[in-house]
């Protein structure tokens, strides 16, 4: 009995560590940066004067990167997971692929940056473009999406598949109309994780050639770009105090952006889960 309550308090203590750190971080950031955020901060170009500098190009660069990354990584990742779960036979080769994908998830992100630099920027001659950055980040988030989608597909009860096949549906029809819709909500969870990872990545993008001062919003996927984390990183390393305030304000915007993306995905998921019953 004593041990039981001891463990309970220990667990509460562990939970609160995370919460307290988060609260401290948020308090520090908000107290520094909240007053700095106004419409000008969002619509201004970068500047040497902290009070005139804004994040317009970094914010749009980030939106470009995230959108393209999701567009590239989701179809590939989901298709790969479908193959591994529904089509591949459980032989050595499948095991080999499986282990490789789990390993990929643990590779340091800067390695992806170096790969992206050689393959996309130099070999395919995409230059330091939004597209090269997105392709690199797609590689980075692919394992996340594949692993999450596989778990989602696994969770679909076999009786559904058997019923569908029994009614004369082909495997593809079964996957497309029964399996994927049934686990769409859990796939979205994987996509949420992938987005959150892509939004915060700085190192691979710097290697691929993301810049810091970009005075224009990218118009095509071939344009040069900067993203918010890079701008924040640059500001924190500047001597003038005003830039530290800007960095805090930038972090708030970044947090809001992630929060917004995540809530959209969660709303979609919940709405979907309500419809699917098995």
């Amino acid at each position: 009995m004593f041990k039981d309550s001891l463990f309970k308090y220990f667990a509460i203590f562990c939970t609160s560590i995370g919460l307290i750190v988060l609260a401290l971080l948020l308090f520090d950031i908000f107290s520094k940066g909240l007053t700095r955020i106004d419409w000008d901060f969002i619509t201004n170009l970068p500047s040497r004067r902290p009070e005139r500098a804004g994040i317009l190009t970094a914010l749009f660069g980030m939106m470009w990167i995230v959108t393209l990354t999701i567009l590239i990584a989701c179809p590939i990742g989901i298709a790969a997971a479908v193959y591994l779960e529904e089509y591949s036979s459980k032989n050595r080769f499948a095991k080999f692929i499986e282990i490789n994908i789990s390993n990929l998830a643990g590779v340091p992100s800067i390695i992806y940056g170096i790969l992206g630099l050689e393959v996309f920027v130099r070999l395919l001659k995409l230059g330091n473009s939004v597209l090269a950055g997105s392709l690199t980040l797609s590689l980075l988030v692919l394992p996340v999406i594949i692993v999450a989608t596989r778990e989602a597909i696994k969770s679909v009860p076999n009786s559904l598949r058997e019923a569908s096949i029994g009614l004369g549906a082909t495997p593809w029809q079964t996957i497309q109309r029964i399996v994927l819709p049934a686990c769409f909500g859990s796939i979205l969870t994987g996509i949420i994780l992938a987005i959150s990872r892509a939004v915060g990545e700085t190192a691979p993008l710097i290697v691929v050639g993301a810049l810091v001062y970009v005075p224009f919003v990218p118009q095509t996927p071939m344009d040069q770009f900067t993203v918010l984390p890079i701008q924040i990183f640059n500001w924190t390393s500047r001597p003038q105090h005003g830039f530290v305030v800007n960095a805090a304000a930038g972090i708030i915007i970044l947090l809001l952006f992630v929060f917004l993306l995540n809530s959209i995905a969660i709303i979609l998921r919940n709405r979907h889960n309500k419809r699917v019953k098995y």
Partner: protein
Amino acid sequence: MKKYFLLIATAAMMASCGGGKKSAENNAATSIKIDGSSTVYPLSEAVAEEFRTEQPNVNVTVGESGTGGGFKKFSRGETDISDASRPITAEEMEACKTAGINFIELPVAYDGLAVVVSKQNTFIDHITVAELKKLWEPAAQGTVKTWDQIRSSWPKEPINLYGPGTASGTFDYFTEAICGKKGASRGDYTASEDDNVLVQGVANDKGGLAYFGLSYFESNSDKLKLVPVDGGNGPIAPSQETVSNGTYAPLSRPMFIYVNTKAVERKEVQGFVKFYIENAEKLSKDVGSVPLQSNEYKMVLSRFAAKTTGTIFTEGKTSVGMSMADLLNKQEGK
């Protein structure tokens, strides 16, 4: 579901092929690409920002992948201008040569290194280069632990050192100027790539000493005490004047831009570089670095007009302890 997939697939296709080539070529005519040192970055950013008011159609982009990283891109012809906080090395010149790239080397400002202690520190009023060497050289690791070992009149209090990490250009320059060899430093000090962390550390540490860019001292002068450095001609504190006229030695270094001669054939690059040199004096004060002397900017401008290629530094030697005017004169006399 099918519809979703089709939509996503077509969007991805369009994204990957859509108008890529064309716009890249259009941009090439009106864009200037700069990359390199993060020390020079604020100045290049300021110039790019001001240049926009003059020529809004030219897109100037600035990156900060470090002096070495910048030269790598420069020698591949990926950038038009490379920012550098040290002269180009022999290997980097070799890489440029193999790629058929010629460059014009233009000094644009100085970066002074400040040696600072906490405001609470009352005993250090100045320090000589020899004492700095004794303090920072690799042999000091683990043996030089209290201040009385450096100068007998100082108290027997523990030494806590703060400095930039080994990847920093500031580290390279300081070790070369003080210990005589690039990278020669003791390792038992608090290292951070973020100078603001060093400022916080040394400000609250009575026995602490740190070195970093002068602009970081200027922004935090309420918390820190500047230590004048004696390089042989009496203790001199770094300031806009002493760094600019070269009396604060050896801890001030020039910052450069390297311009690809092929890029100079483009009108907008020519205009931009000229604008850079003409406005560097005013703008470098804005961003916290130290301008060259006015007559030196004139010499730099004529160097650019004459399209003098190559470096003013003899191979393998660096700029420690030489005035910019001397260097530029030497080049012209050649």
